[in-house]
Subunit: 118 residues, 2 copies
């Protein structure tokens, strides 16, 4: 059983690598999942490297793997990514406030500049 904080750490750790992010982005467009060779196709990296990334993503529970005969299909597992997103969501209030404050500051500066020119 992985607790909430531990899963968040695993999710963010898996997202550090740009190739893994690209693999997840590709899987997002593949409703029926993809094989490892399909995953590897857009990248200039070899199959064993893609398999390693797949294993990291699977350990982090961001993808699931099904095997039918000799074909392994991987699919996105939505829940952990949603938790990571929810965590970041808590900051949204802060961002909008900060950006509003920045805009207000820029406007004040502009108004001051105009006043000084008169």
């Amino acid at each position: 059983m992985v607790n909430y904080q531990e899963q968040l750490s695993r999710t963010f750790a898996a997202l550090v690598d740009p190739t893994r992010r690209a693999i997840l982005a590709k899987l997002e467009r593949e409703d029926d999942g993809a094989s490892v060779s399909e995953l590897a196709a857009p990248f200039a990296i070899k199959l064993p490297a893609v398999r390693k990334h797949r294993d990291v993503l699977e350990d982090a529970r961001l993808i699931t793997r099904t095997k039918v005969g000799r074909t392994v299909t991987v699919r996105l597992a939505p829940e952990p990514m949603r938790e990571a997103m929810d965590w970041l969501n808590r900051y949204e209030r802060f961002w909008s406030q900060s950006l509003d404050r920045l805009a207000a500051y820029a406007e004040r500066q502009e108004a001051d500049a105009k006043r000084r020119k008169r």
Copy 2:
């Protein structure tokens, strides 16, 4: 100059540690920023450890540091967190679809079970 993908990697790497996430969550509630000792207060860790986390967060550009006299104040820097959030946002369509599909599947299973019972 750090490019978009590199910044995303740094942001996610900084978010891997639960104490760093807790520091960011604390800073989100401090509109005027906080000193390192204020940051350390809720945690059972020593100041040097908090300073290390602060340095990682600063290197990842998730916080800024201002020094007035001998007092160092740190504040959240909203932009990189927003970029990370936007990246995760791309999956939202997928999550809602997956969860809808899961619900539809569960309903079908239930309907089948009822039909078999008749």
